[in-house]
Amino acid sequence: MDIRVQAAPFDFGAECGRFGQGDGRAGAVVTFLGLVRGADGMSRMEIEHYPGMTEKALAKIAEDARARWSLSDLLIIHRYGPLAPGDAIMMVATAARHRKAAFEAAEFLMDYLKSRAPFWKKEFGPDGAEWVQAKDDDEAALDRW
């Protein structure tokens, strides 16, 4: 299990290559990568976070996932600071015996990361800067767990 909050870029391919494999326990690995989209004329993004609370919130979300599904491995990486279109923002990965647990745990992590980890995105576009608004959908996504 590994949780990282960092300004530095990470290498999604390299993380996937070494995640959850090699011990023979996992039959299923699911990974999710969140990227800055280049659409809508956005030129850059900045992510602010709450040092201290971020780490606690991510640890809690990861613990909740591990209590609910039997996972042989789990990874969360989330960046903060300035980002450009195409950049990797964050990733999660889960490993389990069967695909259902790996998929469900990855979606659970994403749903809680979206609405319960203290990150805030600000987009800089042709019309100036704007804080990304939380979507009602994202809050509603928690209801299924």
């Binding site: 969140g34 602010e48 609370m53 979206k114 980890a117 203290p118 990150f119 805030w120 995105k121 804080w131």
Partner: protein, 82 residues
């Protein structure tokens, strides 16, 4: 004395990321009323509480929560990570 932290547009409206506040407020809601009474920029930042979230000592909480024993209060908009 309590540390009060602001993030995202709350930080921008109030104009600082954190401050130490001398207060006898019993609840978060009372602390917000004290802050709103200070200056327009606070009144503006706290004008719509539905658009705000609060964390007490780095745990999400709510506006009716007591402040007794709390060292750090943070105000911010709904989170948009992931």
């Amino acid at each position: 004395m309590i540390d009060v932290l602001y993030f995202a547009w709350v930080r921008e409206r109030i104009g600082l990321p954190r401050e130490r506040v001398e207060t006898d407020a019993a609840t978060v809601a009372e602390l917000i009323e004290e802050l709103k009474a200070r200056e327009d920029r606070y009144a503006l930042a706290f004008s719509d509480l539905r658009a705000l979230r609060v964390a007490l000592d780095q745990e999400l909480s709510d506006f009716s929560a007591p402040l007794k024993g709390v060292r750090e209060v943070a105000f911010f908009p709904p989170m948009t990570g992931g």
